[in-house]
Symmetry: C2
Subunit: 209 residues, 2 copies
DNA sequence: ATTTTTTTATTGAACGTTCAATCAATAAAA
DNA sequence: TTTTATTGATTGAACGTTCAATAAAAAAAT
């Protein structure tokens, strides 16, 4: 089947196959042969397109984080108001975007998160993503709360979002995205109410209901 | 050095060495030789006392979860009041117990959490622990809130606790336990306030009646 | 329109490495 | 002398990478 212009196709196939393999047997047993079989190609092709297994894993993590960032960014772009409550709701919704929370993606995300502790290349990607979430939250909260309280609110909401992801990735049924979104939004609502700031119709603040 | 009664000593040494090795190079590179070297013994001894590497990993995870459970249980036993707010505060404090949050333990915990998705033996231990935290929280909230809201409160607080752990395990400086405790307690306070239930001096609940 | 040549894409067996497990040998205490 | 504890070289399996061989398409030549 050799043809020209196979590179972007194969790269995408292999990244998807990596997630499928990790979902199936975990990162530790996701060998190059297994990944290649999922993509319907031979093992050698991985070194050809990614320079080796590490390159493929890094590309896979980068894709997951990019997709997550884009899910958040697109929801914020679609806002018709600049109210901080609306941005915060969009950040929550983006983090529980359907495309991010399917079994393979969530399990791969968690596997990478754990191994990023000891792989510099993955740790870098992880930190960029972490800081982006915290900075986004912190900046919006800062428009509503004093600095110290804004920081705490951002830390807590970021932890709640990650915790819901984590628990969702581990339950066999997968994450209940509607419930996770609702819990995070209710936390946000309570937080603002506790500081004497009402939230105005959180369920209609973003475009998707 | 050979003497009788070495078994409990060696088992403890090897479990501790396992956490040290995972903290140092991650679960993927924590080989039996490396673990044994941390304990100052030879590799063969692992199979002798634990039947193999898997047995050692399972014993290590079991110890972490047992310690965590004991940290919570002992704080609840020490309560002088039966107020649900006090139990909830004790559960929070127990989960951020100092002995549980040092670097090696936290990293090992996260590594096991990720690999429990694909190792039945670890998954079982993980589920027991998860359900215990959720059941404890849920039962105490049930004394304050209607059933549906109690369940949601338990789910959210459990996620917040896990999320704070997760983020703490990944930051180079480790988890700031005081801050994590404070954020979780503030969340609890807001939650109860939102339901019209004041909390009475959460930091002194375990001392006053 | 054929045939030939070149380029691109892919394979999979071979290689060197690393690992967990084994077990005969050894050493110290009982 | 017997028992308990421990070693560490050996073994076999599994892994990622490499690379000569191959196949198909594209380009060039006839």
């Amino acid at each position: 089947m050799p043809k020209v212009g196979m590179e972007p196709i194969r790269r995408q196939q292999l990244i998807k196959a990596t997630m499928a393999a990790i979902d199936e047997v975990g990162l530790a047993d996701a060998t190059v042969v297994r990944i290649a079989r999922h993509a319907g190609v031979s093992a050698g092709i991985i070194s050809h397109y990614f320079g080796g297994k590490d390159g493929l894993l890094e590309a896979t993590m980068r894709q997951i984080l990019n997709d997550l960032g884009e899910a958040v960014a697109s929801r914020r772009r679609a806002l018709t108001t600049d109210a901080p409550e609306a941005h915060l709701a969009a950040i929550i919704d983006g983090n529980f975007d359907r495309s991010q929370v399917t079994g393979p993606v969530a399990k791969t995300w968690l596997a990478f998160w754990a191994s990023s502790m000891h792989r510099p290349a993955l740790e870098r990607l992880q930190n960029v993503n972490d800081r982006r979430l915290y900075a986004n939250l912190s900046h919006q909260f800062r428009r509503l709360l004093p600095k110290a309280q804004a920081r705490d609110a951002a830390r807590a909401l970021a932890a709640l979002i990650d915790g819901l992801w984590l628990r969702g990735a581990l339950t066999p049924e997968g994450l209940d995205t509607d419930r996770a979104r609702r819990l995070a939004r209710e936390y946000l609502e309570q937080l603002l109410k506790a500081h004497g700031l009402g939230i105005r119709h959180p369920e209609t603040l973003s475009l998707e209901s």
